[in-house]
Structures are given as structure tokens and as C-alpha cells.
């Protein structure tokens, strides 16, 4: 097909959009529709700005993890060890702070170190020994979960003063807030983790969009063979994707630790599946080569919003969360699959 070079690219022209952009816009539109719908039909809670910021507070760690997950998925791999890593990091840091008398900076260093160590081993096994990423990270998950209980079995809250101070730090957002029952204006706030998460999203977005390394990830995930012929170091790129993912999981582990303030072996259970779901809802494809970090962020927020809707609609029973999450995932997958199939048909015809 001949490409028209002279025509102006319009954002709303679906045919001209890349796969990545199309899936991204679907995610964003669905998220806003859902949130606005919740505002109209459920009112109250959703009209308060703090509800939105609470979603951010709760999900900041998941957003960071999902960014790493998207990167690995764009490169054509998968990493299911991230949830276990978050549990291991929160437990290790909790033990370091409370039992070994470590410093705050030391615990942050430990978190990053654990992340990098996992990335090094998993990345090496996947990229240079050519073992399936699923098996490698499965073992990584088993290892992390087991190590967590070896480090310390009983869950406990961290009492270290400087850590608690950091945990309770709240950043007020000027001019945004709501009026409470007494008529006082209450400022909306976010935790430090949210700032970290937003920074990660911005950095990752810039890297993936405008750097050579970022484009290499897409190239390797899209077609390994042609990437190799273009002179891209496929193995190194794969290795780096796992390295960055684990590094981000390290940061996310600490952000999660800051949010919950305790160590427990059951922390972040199922986080890896949530991260994969967020990435998929955000338009990342497991086959590689397609995905967008902004979409991933909205994917995470969409999942959290639907959970909030379920609880505020009075469907409190635990099973509803599972079923609605699954229904949403199913909906997105089917939409993506149908749209992609139609586009393929249109391209052929």
C-alpha cells in the first residue's frame, strides 16, 4: 500500500493510528467514561477529589511495577516474580530497620540491591541462556516468597521513628480539596509514593518514546529476527529489559513498604497478576512490540476504580472484586482482539 506522506496526521483518524496509540486511546476513554459514570450514578464518594487521590496512594506501587512489566512485555518476555519481590523487600527492610538497627537510607539501598540482584540473575538466564522467561521468573517468585518467610516468619509493623515519619508524610495539593461536615476546607493529599510513581511513569515514557534504547525494546519485541539484522544487540536488550523491570520492582517494593509500613510474607500476593492485567488493559500485548506506559498507568487506575465502584455500590462480598476484575479484563481482551482482527482485514483488503 502507498503511504500518503503529504496528508496531515489527525489524532482521531483511527486508520492512521499505530496499534499502540489506538489501544492507548481506548483505555483512556474507558477510564474516563467509567469514572464519570461513577460520579453520576454513585455520586458522593466519587465527587470528592480525595477519592481519586486515594486511588493514586493505594496504587502507586502497582503503577511502578506495571511500568516494569509493560517494558518486559513490550520486549516479548514476562516477569511474574515482581509480587514476591515486593514481599521480600518489605520484609527485609522491616527487619533491617527494626531488628538490625539499620538506617532509612540503608533500607532504601537494600531494596534497590535486591531488585538489581533479581534482575541480574533473571536477565542473564533469560537473555544469555535462552530459558523461557516464564519459568525463570516463576522460580524467582517461588524463591522470593520462600526467602521472605526465611528472613522472618511473623508479620509485624515497623516502629522505626524516621521511617514512620516518612510513611506519614503527606503532600497537600494546593487548591484541591473538599469541604467536610463542619464546613472546613480539607486539602487533598498524596503520599510520597505517588510522586515517585509519576516520576517513574514520565521517565519510562520518555525513554521508551524518544531514546534509541527505548525503540530497541519495541524492535526486539516486534520481530527478533529483523531487530538482529538491523544490528541491535538482541540479547543485551532483553537483559536490560529484565534488569530495568526488576530495578523498578525494587523501587515499587519500597514504595509499597512505605504505604503499608509493615513486613509480611503475604504482602503483595497476586501483585504480578494485577500488574500483567494493568499492562494488558493499558494496551500492551504479550506478544511484544506493542504497548505504552501512559496506557499502563491508566490500566492500573481503571482496575482500582472498578474495585472502588464495586465496594461503594454495596457489593461488599469479597468474591465480587474477583469477578468484576475478571469481567473487565475479559472485556478489554475481546475488544483488543476484535479491533486488531478488523484492522488486519482492512490492511489486507
Amino acid at each position: 500500500m502507498e503511504k500518503k506522506i503529504g496528508t496531515k496526521k489527525s489524532f482521531l483518524n483511527i486508520k492512521d493510528m499505530t496499534d499502540t496509540n489506538l489501544l492507548l486511546s481506548i483505555t483512556i476513554i474507558v477510564f474516563f467514561l467509567m469514572y464519570i459514570g461513577a460520579m453520576i450514578f454513585l455520586g458522593e464518594g466519587f465527587l470528592k477529589s480525595q477519592t481519586f487521590f486515594n486511588i493514586l496512594n493505594d496504587q502507586s506501587a502497582l503503577i511502578i511495577v506495571s511500568c516494569g512489566m509493560s517494558l518486559v512485555m513490550i520486549t516479548g518476555g514476562i516477569d511474574i516474580s515482581v509480587g514476591g519481590m515486593a514481599a521480600l523487600i518489605s520484609m527485609s527492610c522491616a527487619v533491617l530497620l527494626d531488628m538490625k538497627g539499620g538506617s532509612l537510607v540503608g533500607s532504601m539501598g537494600l531494596a534497590i540491591l535486591i531488585g538489581l540482584a533479581f534482575g541480574l540473575v533473571q536477565g542473564y538466564l533469560v537473555a544469555f541462556l535462552d530459558i523461557q522467561p516464564f519459568i525463570v521468573s516463576l522460580a524467582g517468585m517461588f524463591f522470593a516468597r520462600g526467602m521472605t518467610t526465611i528472613v522472618n516468619t511473623a508479620p509485624f509493623n515497623v516502629a522505626n521513628e524516621s521511617f514512620v515519619a516518612l510513611k506519614n508524610t503527606r503532600l497537600n495539593i494546593p487548591g484541591v480539596g473538599s469541604v467536610n461536615k463542619n464546613g472546613d476546607f480539607v486539602n487533598a493529599y498524596v503520599e510520597i509514593g505517588v510522586i515517585v510513581a509519576l516520576l517513574v511513569v514520565i521517565v519510562m515514557f520518555v525513554v521508551l518514546r524518544w531514546t534509541k534504547l527505548g525503540r530497541n525494546f519495541y524492535a526486539v519485541g516486534g520481530n527478533k529476527q529483523s531487530a538482529l539484522m538491523l544490528g541491535i544487540n538482541v540479547k543485551l536488550t532483553k537483559f536490560l529489559s529484565h534488569m530495568i523491570c526488576s530495578f523498578l520492582a525494587g523501587i515499587a517494593g519500597y514504595v509499597y513498604f512505605m504505604h503499608v509500613g509493615s513486613g509480611s510474607a503475604s504482602h503483595a500476593s497476586g501483585a504480578e497478576m494485577n500488574a500483567i492485567a494493568s499492562s494488558i488493559i493499558g494496551g500492551t500485548m504479550l506478544t511484544g512490540g506493542v504497548g505504552n506506559i501512559i496506557g499502563t498507568m491508566f490500566g492500573t487506575l481503571s482496575l482500582a476504580t472498578i474495585q472502588n465502584i464495586v465496594t461503594s455500590a454495596g457489593l461488599d462480598e469479597a468474591w465480587w472484586t474477583g469477578i468484576t476484575n475478571a469481567a473487565m479484563l475479559c472485556l478489554f481482551l475481546v475488544i483488543q482482539s476484535v479491533i486488531m482482527a478488523q484492522r488486519k482485514k482492512a490492511q489486507v483488503g
Binding site: 535462552d130 522460580a139 524463591f143 520462600g146 500485548m285 468474591w319
Partner: protein
């Protein structure tokens, strides 16, 4: 003369090393050797009365054979799914919860504490089979017709499965007091070997006969190797993929019956937890390519037993059940690294170099 015989010996040895079933057998031998050195009493089998007075066999070997049953049955279905679709079903644990919940729901009727069975067990089992196969078909349709990657498609049921299982029984925990259900998970009076062992063996025999006398094995492999050329050869790849998922659904129902039979009750969040990971590991340990294509059913079945062997060995070494996974992970990584083609090639080269030096 002697030289040629050495050569044939060597080629036999080489053939064995390169054959797929070598990995699980080697792992099995290694574990056995370790146990022999560590504590030979591992292999002792006792006979004695159990809680209900039956003369039954007990010992670690029996425990391994018994507890591996669900895994073996799942490994059969998982191997087929892996071969045809090039992906894995991660929802089997959740699906077992659903199947178990259905069995209990049918047996107990509306009263979760009823003392009598409301329906024969065979009816409950058949209904569970149908339900599990329907859920398998749901996964299969997503994978085959909507072209969603298997791991992602089954992520849906993975998230919802345990919730659905709880919903089937209105979040109650039914308890079956009738002993006949426990026959399927424990012992039948008068027979000293646990029933699940028999069920697993029957399943293996059935699948072996099916693979031998039907084209199922050939078709799944050809779809896994090259979908397009399979279609050109007159196969219907979508239907075959769907079929493998339905077969896995059937396996899930059988495993579900054993699981409920063991306890006569169900815990939705714990039952068959992480079994999907073990089932996938069994397939991988059997040396089957997780990317689809050729498979070796016996190797997968052996892989399942190896995993249970490993688990039981670790338990015997007083590893707590929580920490178990860390050790398992190390063993798995070692096995996978050693069986990786690149590592094997390098080892072979190293071996040749050593031989040259000797010469």
C-alpha cells in the same frame, strides 16, 4: 571388535542424554541418590491400621505417589494445551476450586450440613465434569478464536475462579459426612494403596491409549509446530486448540474430585493453591518446549512425580511449608539451566576438550 562395541555404547549413552525423557529420569535418580545417602529410611514402607482401622501402606514413597496424583492428571492436560497453543493455562488451580465446589454443592443440596448425600457421587462428578469442561471451553474459545495468548486468556479465570467457587456455595463451607466421598481421596476399605494413585494411573493409561489409537497427538503437535501449514493440510487448528482446553477441563474435574475426596470439604482460597505453577513445571521438567510443538507425555508425567518427590524430600528435611518454595526454586533453576540447549552444548564442548587433553 572391542572398539566398535565402545562406540555403540557411546552412541547409546549420547542418545539417552539427548532424549527428552533423560531430564526427569536424571532428576529422579539424583533425588533418589541424595535420599539414599542422607537417610535410607526414606524408602521404608510400613503396613498398619489407619485412623479407621484399615490395613494400609504408609511411608514417604506412598506419600509421593499419593500426593502427586492431582499433579499427574493436570500435567496430562497441560502438556496437550502447551503443545497445541504454545502457552500455558494458569487457571487450573482456580478451576479445581470450581469443580470441587460444584461436587459439594450437588452432594449437599441446599443444606450445607446435611448428613445424607442428596445425589449419587457419580452424578455430582459428571456435573462437575461438564462445568469444568465448559470453563475449559471458555478459555479455549478465547485462545483459539479470539487469538488471545493462553496465559493472558486464562488470567481471566485465574482472577475470577475462586470467587465463582465461593459464589456457587453461597460462600458457605459445606462438609460431607458420608464416608463414600472420602474413598476417592483416601483409601477404599480393604485396599492398602491410596485411591488417587489408581485414578492417576487410569488417567495415564487412558491418555496413552488415546494418543496411540487416535490422531490427537499428531494433530496437536502439528498445530503447535505450524498453524498455517496445518490448516493447509486440512486440519482445523482452532478446533484442536479448543479440544485440548476441554480435555484439560476434564482433567481438572478429576483432580477436583480427588481434592474434595481428601478432606470431604473445601477451602476456596487454599484448595489447589499454586498447583498451576507445579503443573507447568512438570511440563517444563519433562523437557517439553513451552513454546508448543512436539511433546512427550511420559516425560511430563514423570516430571510431575519428580516435583512431588522433591517436595516430599524437602518436607522430610524439616523445611517449613512456607520456606519450601525457596528451595524448590533453586532446584528448578538448576534443572532448567542444566537442560538449556546452550548450556548442554557448552558442556559437550568442554567434555570434548577434556578428552583431547587426555589423549
Amino acid at each position: 571388535m572391542s572398539k566398535t562395541s565402545v562406540n555403540t555404547n557411546e552412541s547409546f549413552f549420547k542418545k539417552m542424554i539427548h532424549s527428552q525423557i533423560f531430564i526427569p529420569i536424571a532428576a529422579l535418580l539424583l533425588l533418589t541418590l541424595f535420599n539414599l545417602i542422607w537417610d535410607p529410611s526414606f524408602f521404608k514402607i510400613n503396613i498398619g491400621p489407619d485412623a479407621s482401622g484399615n490395613q494400609v501402606l504408609s511411608g514417604y514413597i506412598i506419600t509421593i505417589l499419593d500426593n502427586a496424583s492431582e499433579l499427574v492428571i493436570l500435567a496430562i492436560g497441560m502438556t496437550l494445551v502447551t503443545a497445541a497453543s504454545g502457552g500455558q493455562d494458569i487457571s487450573v488451580g482456580a478451576a479445581i476450586a470450581i469443580a470441587g465446589s460444584v461436587i459439594l454443592r450437588v452432594l449437599c443440596g441446599s443444606d450445607s450440613r446435611s448428613t445424607e448425600l442428596q445425589a449419587p457421587i457419580i452424578v455430582a462428578f459428571i456435573i462437575a465434569c461438564v462445568v469444568a469442561m465448559l470453563f475449559g471451553a471458555f478459555n479455549g474459545v478465547l485462545v483459539a478464536y479470539f487469538k488471545i495468548q493462553p496465559m493472558v486468556a486464562t488470567l481471566i479465570l485465574f482472577t475470577a475462579g475462586r470467587s465463582i467457587a465461593a459464589w456457587i456455595n453461597n460462600n458457605e463451607l459445606p462438609i460431607v459426612t458420608d464416608v463414600s466421598l472420602s474413598y476417592y481421596g483416601n483409601f477404599i476399605p480393604g485396599i492398602p494403596i491410596p485411591t488417587p494413585v489408581f485414578i492417576a494411573i487410569i488417567c495415564v493409561i487412558i491418555i496413552m491409549l488415546v494418543l496411540k489409537f487416535t490422531t490427537l497427538g499428531l494433530y496437536t503437535q502439528s498445530v503447535g509446530i505450524n498453524e498455517k501449514s496445518s490448516r493447509l493440510n486440512g486440519l482445523n487448528p482452532e478446533l484442536i486448540k479448543l479440544l485440548t482446553f476441554v480435555i484439560l477441563g476434564l482433567c481438572v474435574a478429576v483432580a477436583g474430585l480427588i481434592k474434595v475426596g481428601r478432606f470431604s470439604t473445601i477451602n476456596y482460597s487454599v484448595i489447589a493453591k499454586d498447583i498451576e505453577m507445579d503443573a507447568i513445571l512438570a511440563v517444563a521438567l519433562g523437557g517439553n518446549a513451552l513454546g508448543g510443538g512436539k511433546f512427550n507425555m511420559m516425560a511430563s508425567v514423570l516430571g510431575a512425580y519428580v516435583i512431588q518427590y522433591l517436595t516430599t524430600t524437602l518436607y522430610k528435611l524439616k523445611v517449613s511449608s512456607d520456606a519450601l518454595s525457596a528451595y524448590k526454586a533453586i532446584v528448578v533453576i538448576l534443572l532448567v539451566v542444566l537442560s538449556a540447549p546452550i548450556v548442554r552444548e557448552k558442556l559437550a564442548k568442554l567434555g570434548k576438550k577434556l578428552k583431547k587433553k587426555e589423549a
